[in-house]
Structures are given as C-alpha cells and as structure tokens.
C-alpha cells in the first residue's frame, strides 16, 4: 500500500561478496543511472547488489586489472506501484481465466500460475490458502459460488480489506444479476466491467454501495433487455447519479413507490456440535435481520424488540445509529432502498440453545469383509411446537467407501461417488413416524477399514419462529406522512450443525 521510494532499493558496494558493504546508497525506483566514485583494489571484484528486502536483481562487475574511479551503471530498479488492488482475475472452477480487470498497468495472466500451482496441491478448492506470495506480487483469492476471485497486490495492504472488497464485488454481481456464476458474468460482461471500474479507483474502493452503483449502472431487467434489444440502448444510466452526492450515502434521493412496504425477516441459525452420545459440545445462535424496504421519500424507521437483552453481540448496516442502540436498544435508521442486511447478531451464550432434533446413528465398518453398516434415525426434540421442514443430512464418507445400498423410510438419498458425499433429503419431519435410513456400505476391496466415522451435517428449517425467542415489538416511521405496510417474518435454520459419530 505504502511505498517509500527512497528506501525501496538499496545499493551496496562491496569489495568482495563476503565483505560488509562499504558504501551504500538509496535510490528511487524506476530506470536509474547510478554514478559511483570509488577507489577499488584492482585485484578484487566489486559486487553491486541491488537489494530490496532480499536481492531482486544483482549485478556483478568484474574489473580485474583496472581501476575504476568513476563510472555509471544503468539498471532498472523495480518500482513498486502504490495502490491497494492492482488487478483482478475471475477464474472458474476448472481453472480458466474468463475475465480480467487491471486498474493500473496490465499484469500478465501468468501471475495466476502460482495460484494454479497451489490449487493443484490442495485437494479441495476451499483448501487453497487465501493469501499467496509470489516473487513480485501477492495473490489474495476468495472462493465464492464455484468461482475464484483472484486479486493481485504489490504492496502492504490489510488482507481483510481486499477479501472484504472481493466479497463485496461478488455480492454486487449477485445483487445485479440474481446469481454469481460464470455464465451470468459473461452474459453481462460489459456491465460487470463497468461495475468494476466504478467500484475501484486506482485500487482504492470508490463506490461500493449498491444503491449508488445502481444509479450509475442500471441492473438489467427482463423488460429493459427487451427494450434494449429493440432500441439498441444499454444498461448504462443516461441520467447521472445523484446518490453519491446525497447526504445519506446509502440511500438515493427521490425514491417513489405507489405501494409503500417494509418487510423484515428475522433469520436465526443454530450452530452446534453434538457428540456421539447426542449431548451438546457447543451450540450458539447467530441471527440476521434481512430487510426489504420500499418506501417513498426519506423515511426514518425505528425498530424495537420485546427482548433486546437476548442480543449479545451485534453488527449493523452503516445506516443504523449506534448511539440509539447503545442507549435505548432500538434500531433507528434511514434505510437504503431495496434489500439489505440490517443487522447480524449473536445470542448470548448464557441462554441455553434449544436443539430442535435429535439423531440416533450408528455407522460401523467391519474389519472382515469389505462392508459397513449405517443406521440413522432423526426425531424432534425442542421444536417450539412447530414443524421441522427441509430436513437434510449430509455425510462426507471416508474415501474407502465405494457405494451405499440404503433404504430410507422417508425422502430419498444420493451418494456421489466422486466426492464421496451422501445426501439424505428428508423433507418434513413427522413426529409420529420418525424417518430412518439404514443399509450397508461397500468398501473398496483391500483398503483398510476407515478408522473414524464420518460426522453428519444437518440442515433444517423451522418457519415462524426465532429459536432464541427474539421478537420484534414494533416498527415506527418518522419523517413521512403515509402509512406503510409492515411485516415481520421469523425463520430458524440449522447453521453449522454437526453430529460427531
């Protein structure tokens, strides 16, 4: 990020490679002519070294027999460009670069080879280290929706800064086109390119609020793409944006709706680790409030809870006034227009976490004969009187498991031979008739019996309840006259819910 040109390169002059430098000087980056004046013992070598935290380029001059009093050497001292993000490459799952954007000079694609090398080594794309060091660059990568967003960095920069920005890019693409995939990006390549141009100026984020971006570059809609086809227009806004210049950076001015509505979804996720016997090793609840606000003008909203004490740790969208929260435990904000995440919260760990389901399982592999047995039953535990839906069990089987021959009493299962993932999609949980999956697993012939049992990952949904008991008490609107339509929805999901076996 920062570059002190004066100290970027050091020139050491030695009489022999092992001597300490007898003269050192500091030079700027770029193409330089370095003039020196030095008496030299004719029987020795002079070694010029250009160092930059370790040698970047070296020159060795032999001058056997001659005095060198003065002279000039010409060399190219590598210059560090000072910026945060230099280039971005989008790479698909199979390793093709399908989009590149350079905010400064062009960096050759070959820089990605270091990444590909690391990717080869890592079995799973998730296991590729997000930060890689190459001789001249640093590569910071995120893996989202089966795509790699690879950024090239040249100087010190907080890695989270880059990571967070790359995720913001992915979020924006998702927001614009509904999904973030290679095909969607390639279909809208010009728009994406323009978005990138707007989001980063000289490697530093410029406009990342989707409200602002959407005014500069309009997202495609079906209607508009039809119109565009007919008229030859594009998605580029022809009116100039005003949002950046409004007093509230996240809300554009002049919002108008005929139906004014504000919806809030309180979504809680249970993160839990259960051990073999079914007791809880660790459990916590993470919640998020997703909002969809379509209100005319500049509404000022206040959302209050029945039981705000439940919330232990929170993070807010920048629109939320933190002081109000500190003093009154209410969310007071002027909302962005459209969909946004209002807050994330963590329910204090003092509260016992209700675990909605229990799992009885036995997975055994036999020493004798290439087989194993699997028997899983799931039943309701603490469901707050609601139905558990969209129940699903995912098991990453040991490599030795060749195939599975199972019978589910409810739902169906699939076993992916390549990734060794067993998925049992159950659906709604019927307390009267507990779903069960049992059968045999066949192992690779000759392979030793797997030592450990795979753990089960469980997915579920419970509608209309926030498992922590959090309740929104009211939503008030100030600043505008009309009466908006308000709605709150609750949903509980399994987050990282894992049963060890």
């Amino acid at each position: 990020m920062i570059l002190q040109q004066q100290i970027s390169v050091e020139l050491n002059m030695r009489n022999s490679p092992s001597d300490p430098p007898c003269q050192s000087a500091l030079f700027k980056g770029g193409h330089q002519n370095i003039t020196f004046h030095q008496h030299v013992n004719p029987s020795q070598f002079i070694v010029w070294e250009l160092l930059q935290d370790g040698p970047i380029c070296r020159r060795l001059f032999s001058n056997s027999g001659n005095f060198w009093h003065t002279g000039t050497i010409s060399c190219n001292i590598p210059e560090l460009a000072a910026e945060m993000i230099h280039s971005l490459f989008l790479i698909n799952h199979s390793g093709d670069i399908f989009l590149e954007k350079h905010w400064k000079s062009v960096i050759s694609r070959s820089v990605c080879d270091y990444f590909f090398e690391a990717k080869e080594k890592a079995v799973d794309p998730e296991n590729v280290s997000p930060v890689l060091q190459t001789p001249h660059h640093y590569l910071i990568t995120i893996y989202r929706d089966k795509l790699f967003f690879l950024s090239v960095i040249q100087t010190e920069v907080p890695p989270l800064f880059v990571i967070e920005f790359l995720h913001r890019v992915a979020d924006t693409i998702q927001d614009y086109f509904g999904e973030c995939s290679e095909s969607v990006i390639m279909d809208n390549v010009v728009t994406v390119y323009e978005l990138l141009e707007e989001m980063l100026d000289n490697g530093f984020p410029l406009a990342t609020e989707s409200n602002v971006l959407k005014e500069m570059i309009r997202p495609p809609t079906i209607l508009r793409s039809v119109v565009n086809t007919l008229t030859g227009g594009s998605n580029v806004g022809d009116t100039l944006p005003t949002g950046q210049l409004s007093n509230i950076p996240w809300r554009r001015a002049g919002v108008k709706y005929t139906n004014n509505e504000a919806y809030f979804d309180v979504i809680e996720e249970i993160d839990a680790i259960l051990d073999k016997s079914g007791s809880t090793v660790f459990a916590e609840i993470q919640g998020v409030i997703e909002a969809c606000v379509r209100l005319t003008g500049m509404p000022d909203l206040t959302l209050s809870f029945m039981n705000p004490r439940l919330l232990d740790d929170v993070s807010f969208h920048p629109c939320v006034r933190f002081k109000r929260w500190e003093s009154e435990r209410v969310l007071s904000f002027i909302p962005p227009d459209g969909n946004f995440t209002l807050m994330n919260y963590h329910v204090s760990s003092q509260n016992l976490v209700a675990i909605p389901v229990y799992v009885k399982q036995s997975i055994t592999f036999f020493e004798m004969g290439p087989c194993g047995r699997l028997d899983i039953t799931i039943g309701p535990k603490q469901t707050m009187g609601k139905t558990v839906e969209a129940l699903m069990v995912t098991i990453h089987m040991p490599k030795a498991v060749l195939s599975a021959n199972l019978t589910p009493t409810q739902g169906n299962y699939t076993y992916d031979l390549a990734t060794k993932v067993l998925v049992w999609d159950i659906g709604k949980l019927n307390p009267q008739k507990l779903p069960n999956l049992r059968g045999s697993l066949s192992l690779q012939a000759g392979a030793p019996k797997p030592e450990d049992n795979p753990s089960l990952n469980i997915d579920l949904k419970i509608q209309q309840v926030a498992i922590s008991g959090l309740k929104v008490s009211r939503l008030d609107m100030y600043g505008e006259k009309y009466k908006p339509f308000k709605g709150v929805k609750y949903l509980t999901k399994a987050g990282k819910f894992q049963v060890r076996t």
């Binding site: 565009n228 580029v236 210049l245």
Partner: protein, 1129 residues
C-alpha cells in the same frame, strides 16, 4: 454496412454482448487476416454516425478487453469518439482509454483537451470523471496538466470532486515522484477538509505519498477521530491504521506501569530522571489529587489517546470485517491491557464469516492469544473444529486452542483433541499431535497423560500419524528421560515398521541419547540399522552414525565392529555431509596416535546433557508486525510495510494537536477558559450526537462539528464568540475605530478605483465627506491616521489606559449626535453578529454568498442615514463584516461612487478552505439604493504575476437595503501588491482593488518556546542563504508597556500567533512574569510558508528590542515598520 446491421439484428441486446467474437470467429485470434477483418468491422461501426452502432462496437471492444484480448490497434478509431455526446458511449471510451493510453501515448494526448474541458463542466460528476480518467492515463507528458487539475479539484465546491482529487494524488505520485512536495501541499489542504467523503481518500493519499509527515496529522487528529464513524467503510480502515501509527508516536505506553511491575529491571522505560521530573510536574498539574507515588508515578492517559480509543470502539460493530479488524489491532496495540478484552467478542463474531475472513482473523487471534490468553478464554468453544472446515482453518483453530490451554481447561481441550485425531484429514491429525505435544510441555500436570496418549498413537495404522507422534514423543521424553525407558523400548521396536525418515531418525536419536536406559536393545538396533544403512535416507544415515558413535563410547565391547562397519559404509557414501561426518567422528572417537587432544573429550562431547527443546508457537513474537497487516499474515515484511513505531519514552508535546486559536486569547486566564470551551465537546459530548445518520443528514452539521466538536474552527469561533460577548463594552469603541479606519481607507483605496479625471472628482467628494466628520470630531487628519493602529487594538484590551482615549472620544461623540435608536440598534447588532458567526463556521467549505437578511436593521440604518453619512457608515460597518471584533475593515467601494452599492472588506484571518495558499477576504455588500442589485460578480481580474484569485460566487440578488457577505480568496504571492478587478452588477462595473497590509500575508503558527528558539537559530545559521534578521530598538508607547497591550498590538498589526511563555508546560499555572518579559510571535507567510518570527524583548522604562526573523527580506522589513508603528504610538 449491411453486414454490420445484420450482425446487429442477430446479436442485439445486452444478453449476448460478450459472445459475438467467439460466435463469429471460430479461429479467434488464430489467423491474422481474420483478426484484421474483425477489427475493420468494428472500426466501421465506430466511424458511423449512429450512436447505437458506436455503442455496440464499444461494448464488443470492452468485452474483448475484459477477456484479456488485445484491441490496441483500434485506438485511433476509439479515441475519436471521446467527445461523443452519448454518455454511454463516452463512458465506454473512457474505460478503453484508461486501459490503453499508456501504450499509445501520442494518440492519447489527442483526448486530453476533452478532459480539460470536462474539468470545467458545471456538473460535478463530469468534473470528477474527467479527473479520474485524466489521472488514470499514465503518460508522463501530462504531469503538469494533472497537477493543475488536481490542485483545482482540491478546491472544488463539490466534496465528490475533492474526493476524486484525493484519489488522483497517488496516481500522479507514482507517475512522477518529483511532484511530491506539491502533492503534499494538496494533501495538507485536503486533510483540513471536513467532509467525511473526502477524509478516507485523503488519508489514503497521505499514506501513499508522505506517511512520514506525521506532523500534518496533528491539527487534524481530533477532527479525524470525531468524523471517523461517518466515514465510509474503506476510509475507516485506512484512517484507523494511520491513527494507530500516529498514536504510537505521540502518546505514552498505557501499559508501562504494568510492564514495570512485571519486569522490575526494565527501568529504561522511563528514560532519564529529568524526564521523570518533568512528567511528574505535568501530571501533577493534570491531576493534582492523584496520590503521590514513591517511585512510580501514575500514568494518566492523554485525553487525545482516550478520544481515539473511545471513538473507534463503536466500529467494532461494523459489518465490514476489515473495519473490525482495524479497530481490533488498534486496541491491541494502543489500549491499556484491561480494555483490550472488548475486541475478543467482535473477532469471534467474524469467525462466522467467509472462510477467507476466518483465515485472516484466526491468524491474528493466534498472535493475540499468546500475549493475552485471558481475552479469548471465554470463547474457547468457538474455536472448536468442525470436520467441514478447510484444513488451513482447522490448523489455525488448533493453534488458538493450544494457546488458550491452561490447567483448568486442558481436560476439555484434550478431549476435543482426541476427536480430532480420528479425523480423515491427515495433515490436520499431524497438527493435532503437535498441539498435544505443546500442551504437554506447557502444562506439567498433563504431561504423562499426553505421553500415554501419544504412545497409543504409535500403534495407529497411518504412518504419518505414527511418525508425527514419534517426533513429538522424542521431544517430550527429552524433558524427563529417566522415567520412560519402556517407551523408548517400545519405540525401538517400531524401527521395523516406520518408514518415515524423520520418525526413524528421531527414534535413533532417542536410543542413542538414552542408550544407558536401554543397554540391551540399543546394540541390536544398531545392528539392524547397519544392515539397512545403504538404503536409508540421509537424515537417517546421520543419526545412525550418531548412534554408533554414542554406543561406541558407552559400550565399545559390543559395538566396536559395528561402528567401524557403519563408518566405513559412510566413508563411501554419495553425500559429502555424511562422508564428512563419518571422517570427523572416526577421528574423534577412535583414538589413534595422530588423533589430537580432542578425542579425550569425545565422551563429553557426545554424551553431554542436551537442553530440552522448547515447543513454541509459530505465532510467538509475530506481534512485532502490525496486526491485521499483510506482513503479519506472511510473517515477512511486505513491500511498503511501515513498521509500527515503539512507544516514545516521553510523550511529545500534546499541544500540537490543539488547534490554532486567535492569539489575543492566548494569554492568562482567558486561555484556560477558552481551552475548556474548545475541548469540552471532545471529552464529554463527542459521542453525543454522532450517530451515523444524524450527521449524515446534513453535511455541514457533521462537518463543522459544532456538536461533535471537531477542533479547528471551533476553537476559533469559541474564542471569538466569547470575545464578542465580553466585548459588549468595547462595541462602541469598535464602531468608532471602524469608522475611522474606513475613512482612511477610503482615501487610500479610491486611488485605483477611477481613472485620471474621475479619480480626482471622487477624491474631492471624499474630502468633503471627510471634512465633515473631521469637523465634528475636531481632530486633525494626520492624527486619526496615526491613531489607527493603536485604536484598533484598544478594542480588545482590558487595560484601562488604552481604553481611556477611546472613552473620551466616545463621550465626545455621544454628546454631539447620538441617534435615539442607537441602544436598540446595538442589541440588534449583537444578535446579528452572533448569527453570522455561527453561519460562518457552519458554512463550509464552499464560500458562497450568505444572504443575511437585515430587515430589522434596515429601518435603523435608514434612520441613521438622515443623521449624516459618516455616522451611518460607522453604524453599518461592524455588524456583519467579521466574526472577530479585532478586524479592521477597509472600504472597497463607497456608496456614492457605487451608486448606492457599498462594499467593504476585511481580512477575516480564517483559513480559506478551498486553497490554503490564499488569504481569505471577507466582503460585505450593502445595497443602499432603492432598487435591487442583481448578478453581483467579479470580472477582469488584473493581477501581478503569480497572484491568483478565487472569486466569490455570484450573488444573484441583493435586494434594496439588504446586505450580504461573501468570501473570496486571494493569493498575494507574499507581496503587498494590490489585486485589481472589476465588480460588476447587472448594470454597472466598478474598478476596485484590494491591497493587503503586510501583516495579513501570514497565518499564525503555533510553536512552543523551544521550537521557536530552534527555528530562530536555524534562520540565523542560514543567514548566508538569504535568511534575514532585522532588529530595531524601540521605545514603547506609554500606554503599551504591559503584556496585554504589547501582545494585542502586535497581533492586530500582523496575523501572528503568540508563543506561550513557559514553553511546553502550557498546563502549569502561569509563572509570575519576569520583570522584563520577552514576547514571541510566530507565523508563516501564506503562499510560501516561510517562517516569520517576531520577538519583542522589553527592557527598563519602556525600552524594547524588536527582532524579526524571516526568510523574505521584503516582508521582514515591511513588518518591522508596521509593528514598530503599532508599538510606539
């Protein structure tokens, strides 16, 4: 063309923009000719005059760029369209230009003029985007153009354009580092900007261009702290990181007492005794009631340090992980130990985020958890590992768990580890085994349990697991070998099975080291190894030689032959290390006649007790890198990384962060009052109203910081308003002065106003006018002239002697003709003045006309009009002209020559925010006519070379009887040359001019006494290089022999700041002044920033010595004259 349109029909619509080149050109990039053909087709489309075709072509080109295809041959065709009216085409052309301008410099230059035009566009967004593109074109030739554009944009009215200017600074800097000095000036100006939009970007520019110029931050420090919460996320990260570094240089280590307690020897922390004394004094002042400590003094946190910590804390709740991390590292590096804990919760929250975020956060948590284990202990379970975590996350979590392990939680942690060992991920299992080893070394209680557990792992089927266990067991055994001969025996058996070289080597080393514990087995192992020697890995071979040597020394009977066999094998090994080792050992252990004295000590050499290895976390001591940085993550310095400085031993002068305040309030009791007033908002109220939206609601609100108390302006306004409050007495005097000042100015200024003949006539008029007033006052003209200076000072003086004169006059005047409405008027005026004060301070940064309606005033002024011209002038003048009562105002246009329009100006002594190099001139327009004046603006500015003027925005309407103020900036280039221009209304034009007194060509600089002396010395030393010192002996005016009057007179004569006496100890109670005090004043010239140092050393009986040090000779000489006049009359 038909082909093109066909293409268009087929491919129209945005959904397929990217595809055409693939679809149409199966040999894409393959055959040259087809390449050309394709581009020809695009060129044709670009040359057409249909925007839709151009757009389509540009889209296809941009899509090609996005794919990394070379389209540089299209440059000439594209660059033609840069002036295209269609904004969509234009945008895409900009995108193209930025990409290829560097390669096609000559052609790129063709487009420059378009951008230059864009820079002048009335639409701020066009200005901004023109600057963006212009600065992105990396062509060295346009450096001067860029520089000019940046400078202009930095004083733009729109904060968005200023933000873009900040972005452009690093671009220009990387293009041409030679521009650094000029760019720093721009940065300095932008740092003073108070809009949140600009703050983040300018700090980023600061960090990239001149991070070493920490002094630029002082004055902006408090403002940045207070604005922080409203800055956009990315800016927050940059600012927080910068402030971390700043705080490390400016404040004391809050944990110094603790560290002193912990390491009693570490006394150097406190530096010398002298420092200690000084500090002690300071602290006594700050906190007199603090209990005196015998050795250690209590640490008192600098309020500014506290401010930073307090204002960053809410950002832990940010949704942006980078911001949270930035705050976390700030707390880790800057907060007292007891307070660091607050960051743990937020960091743990980030663990829910994307795996990349987790990765970085865990790295930092790992480092932190070594230093401050207690912080994360409550969150132990959040670091439990799931089978679905990526390996690198697992390993990091393991690291954290290990760091957190202590006696109380070790059993739960070990239970967790047990489940981990069964994982399918073998790298992770190996890491777990190492973690167990580390727990065992750190916590003695569980060492045996761990060891047993690890020994069990030796029967694991996975070789890697076993190997790792062996290595760890070896390390553990080294700590207490006696007890574990059976484990060693067990391991000896393993040599048959384990193939991993490192593990084999470890076992051999163990057996060799502890061969006395296993005397029977060891020779047998050696026998087996000798057999397989040639097939072993190098590392194992070395250990075999070692084992042989050790056995030979302890048990030579059984092993002599074996050893010789092994050594012989090694002698002919391919590896020279092994050959060397064998030769060396043979000489050492096998005594021959040739062997030296060393062989006697062979036993000692080989069988010496070896210290047990310490199992350390790889994250130990990583915190010497700033947390959250790339360098920390890599554990290696990344290019451009800035070291986090160590805490200073003694805190540098905290007053540098005080924001400049008008000088006359600087002394005695007032100073304290004022300081209270300035700082209050920081410490009590700073959090009060700064919710993100409140301040975002109105920019000026958050910017001026009247609530949140952003320092600079506040100090000024605070003191000024105070002044005006207490100045109620002096109000009347003031009016009089103004009146007189004006009269004098009228005469002076009239000269350039009209040409030749008309000039004379106007002068005559003028004289008549003057005569009138003179008669009334019965004072000679010369007298009034002379008195000018001393009087203006007297307005602020509390000393009675200087007041007396004015008092007398006032009485005289009151007796003569005092309009009955005057008292009422005065009240009005006062109100008005306060209002305008607020307006001025809140209204930032664009100087625009302030339509201050003066309706209530109107009737009065009309009434007074009847009383006589001069009087009415006097009444009008002070009301809205200036926030400070101390300012002289000059007449620019008399109401008669101006046909009803009168204009007065004064030098407001406020920084002119759009351009720091300009002197702010505040003008007051009064429309005394009966009809409205419209479109008041400037034209035809005639300036000496180098001078620049920032015109005031046009005043569209000045209704009859109203008055309005406006601010313009003039860069006088450090000369007293007048700025001439025409003042135009919708009907008339008037030639006017503004001439600054030399004292207004500078701005105050706050220096401590020591700094002052240092600077003075520097100037003196540099005399040869054109520096100058001018000394005059003077006899002070009788009325001006006390401190206040001297200070006030000097400050009125020149815009300087007083150097407080008593040097750095500002907080200490005022020392009784010596009999002959020395007064020092400092300032810098506005344009060239050269120091102006003024010293008035008083002596007996009103004698004094006036010394002025200034690089600029002319300014120095003129200033001497002015101050001399001020002090002697």
């Amino acid at each position: 063309m038909s082909a093109n349109s066909a293409f268009n029909d087929e491919k129209g619509g945005s959904s397929s923009v990217g595809e055409p080149e693939y679809g149409h050109d199966p040999a894409s990039g393959g055959i040259f000719s087809s390449d050309y053909k394709r581009h020809d087709d695009l060129k044709e489309m670009l040359d057409s005059n249909k925007d839709s075709l151009k757009l389509e072509a540009m889209k296809r080109i941009v899509a090609m760029i996005a794919r990394g295809k070379n389209t540089s041959d299209l440059f000439p065709a594209v660059v033609k369209n840069v002036a295209c009216k269609n904004i969509e085409v234009k945008k895409l052309v900009y995108v193209y230009l930025v990409r290829y301008a560097e390669e096609q410099q000559d052609l790129a230059l063709l487009s420059i003029s378009t951008f230059q035009r864009g820079l002048k566009d009335p639409n701020q967004l066009i200005r901004a985007s023109a600057l963006r593109v212009l600065s992105s074109i990396r062509v060295t030739i346009i450096v001067p153009i860029m520089m000019l554009a940046i400078k202009e944009a930095a004083s733009d009215m729109s904060p968005y354009v200023r933000k873009t200017a900040a972005h452009a600074i690093p671009k220009l800097y990387s293009l041409d580092p030679e521009q650094k000095d000029q760019l720093i000036e721009v940065i300095e100006k932008l740092l003073a900007d108070k809009t949140t939009l600009v703050a983040g970007s300018v700090v980023m520019a600061f960090e990239e261009v001149c991070p070493e110029r920490i002094d630029l931050i002082h004055k902006n420090y408090r403002k940045l702290c207070n604005l922080l919460i409203d800055v956009e996320e990315w800016g927050q990260v940059v600012i927080i990181n910068m402030l971390t570094r700043y705080a490390r240089t400016q404040f004391l280590n809050p944990n110094m007492n603790e560290s002193l307690l912990e390491e009693g020897s570490d006394k150097t922390f406190y530096g010398s005794d002298e420092d200690e004394d000084e500090e002690e004094e300071e602290e006594k002042d700050k906190k007199a009631e603090a209990p005196a400590m015998a050795k250690r003094k209590p640490y008192v946190m600098d309020p500014d340090h506290r401010l930073l910590l307090r204002n960053t804390k809410p950002l832990l709740q940010s949704r942006n992980a980078a911001v949270v991390m930035a705050v976390a590292q700030l707390y880790f590096h800057l907060a007292p130990k007891a307070e660091v804990g607050v960051i743990a919760k937020a960091l743990v929250r980030l663990l829910r985020s994307h795996s990349e975020v987790q990765y970085v956060v865990l790295q930092n948590v790992a480092t932190m958890s070594i230093k401050r284990r207690g912080m994360f202990e409550p969150y132990l379970k959040s670091f439990y590992i799931r089978s679905t975590d990526p390996t690198q996350i697992k390993v990091l979590k393991l690291e954290v768990l290990t760091n957190l392990a202590n006696e109380t939680n070790i059993s739960t942690i070990l239970r967790e580890f047990q489940t981990y060992i069964k994982s399918m991920d073998k790298d992770f299992v190996a890491a777990t085994i190492q973690a167990i080893g580390r727990c065992a070394t750190n916590i003695g209680e569980v060492r045996d349990t761990c060891l047993n557990g690890l020994v069990q792992l030796l029967s694991n089927r996975d070789e890697l697991v076993v190997a790792e266990s062996v290595v760890v067991i070896k390390k553990l055994l080294q700590m207490q070998p006696e007890k574990h001969s059976d484990i060693i025996k067990h391991m000896a058996k393993l040599t048959d099975n384990i193939q991993v070289p490192m593990a084999r080597a470890s076992i051999l080393w163990l057996i060799g080291e502890y061969c006395e514990h296993v005397p029977k087995i060891a020779p047998d192992v050696l026998r087996k190894m000798a057999k397989s020697f040639t097939n072993e890995e190098d590392i194992v071979k070395l250990q075999i030689i070692n084992l042989a040597a050790k056995l030979y020394l302890t048990n030579s009977k059984q092993t002599k032959l074996l050893t010789q066999y092994v050594l012989n094998l090694a002698k002919y090994d391919q590896n020279y290390d092994i050959r060397d080792r064998a030769r060396f050992i043979r000489q050492l252990i096998v005594p021959t006649e040739k062997s030296g004295a060393l062989s006697k000590y062979a036993k000692k050499l080989f069988l010496a007790l070896k210290p047990a290895p310490v199992l350390e976390s790889p994250f130990k001591d990583r915190d010497h890198f700033q947390l959250g940085s790339l360098s920390h993550l890599l554990n290696a310095k990344a290019g451009g990384y800035q070291e986090l400085p160590d805490w200073p031993e003694a805190a540098p002068d905290p007053s540098v962060r005080n924001v400049e305040v008008p000088e006359w309030t600087k002394c005695s009791s007032r100073e304290k009052r004022k300081e209270k007033k300035v700082e209050k908002p920081f410490y009590s109220d700073s959090e009060g109203e700064s919710g993100p939206t409140e301040s975002a609601d109105s920019e000026s609100d958050s910017a001026s910081g009247s609530e949140s108390g952003s320092g600079i302006e506040e100090s000024g306004s605070g003191s000024e308003s105070e002044e005006s409050e207490e100045g109620s007495e002096s109000e009347e005097e003031e009016e009089e002065e103004k009146e007189k000042d004006k009269k004098k100015k009228k005469k002076e200024l009239k000269k350039p106003v009209q040409e030749s003949e008309s000039e004379q006539s106007s002068e005559e008029e003028e004289r008549k006018h003057e005569r009138k007033s003179k008669q009334r006052k019965s004072e000679s003209e010369s007298e009034s002239d002379e008195e000018e200076d001393s009087e203006s000072e007297s307005s602020q003086t509390e000393s009675e002697d200087s007041e007396s004169e004015a008092e007398v006059k006032k009485k005289k005047k009151a007796a003569e003709s005092k309009p009955p409405s005057k008292p009422v008027k005065k009240d009005n005026k006062k109100e008005k003045k306060e209002m305008s004060l607020l307006d001025l301070d809140d209204f930032e940064p664009a100087p625009s006309p302030q339509a201050t309606p003066v309706n209530s005033f109107l009737s009065n002024s009309l009434a007074t009009d009847l009383e006589g011209l001069s009087l009415s002038d006097a009444v009008l003048s002070p009301a809205t002209i200036s926030p400070s009562s101390a300012l002289k105002s000059y007449e620019m246009l008399h109401r008669i020559t101006g046909e009803g329009l009168s204009v007065e100006y004064c030098f407001s002594r406020q920084p002119f925010s759009p351009d720091a190099n300009m002197v702010a001139v505040q003008m007051q327009f009064t429309n005394n006519a009966t009809s409205d004046t419209k479109n008041l603006h400037m034209e035809d500015v005639k300036l000496q070379s180098g001078m620049r003027v920032k015109e005031f925005p046009e005043i569209e309407l000045l209704p009859a009887g109203e008055m309005v103020t406006a601010v313009m900036g003039i860069d006088f280039c450090d000369s007293t040359q007048a700025a001439n221009f025409q003042l135009c209304t919708h009907t008339r034009k008037f030639f006017v001019s503004i001439q600054p007194p030399v004292g207004e060509l500078m701005r105050p600089v706050f220096l401590t006494e020591n700094e002052f002396k240092k600077e003075q010395e520097k100037l003196l030393l540099g005399q040869l290089m054109g520096m100058n010192e001018i000394t005059e002996k003077i006899t002070l005016d009788v009325k001006c022999r006390n401190e206040h009057s001297i200070v006030q007179r000097v400050i009125t004569a020149a815009n300087l700041s007083r150097v407080p006496c008593g040097s750095d100890k500002e907080c200490s109670p005022p020392v009784p002044p010596p009999d002959h005090p020395v007064h020092r004043f400092a300032g810098r010239t506005v344009t060239s920033s050269s120091l102006v140092l003024v010293t008035v050393a008083t002596k007996e009986e009103g004698a004094a010595k006036l010394t002025i040090n200034c690089e600029k000779m002319v300014i120095g000489t003129m200033l001497v004259k002015d101050i001399l006049l001020a002090l002697t009359q």
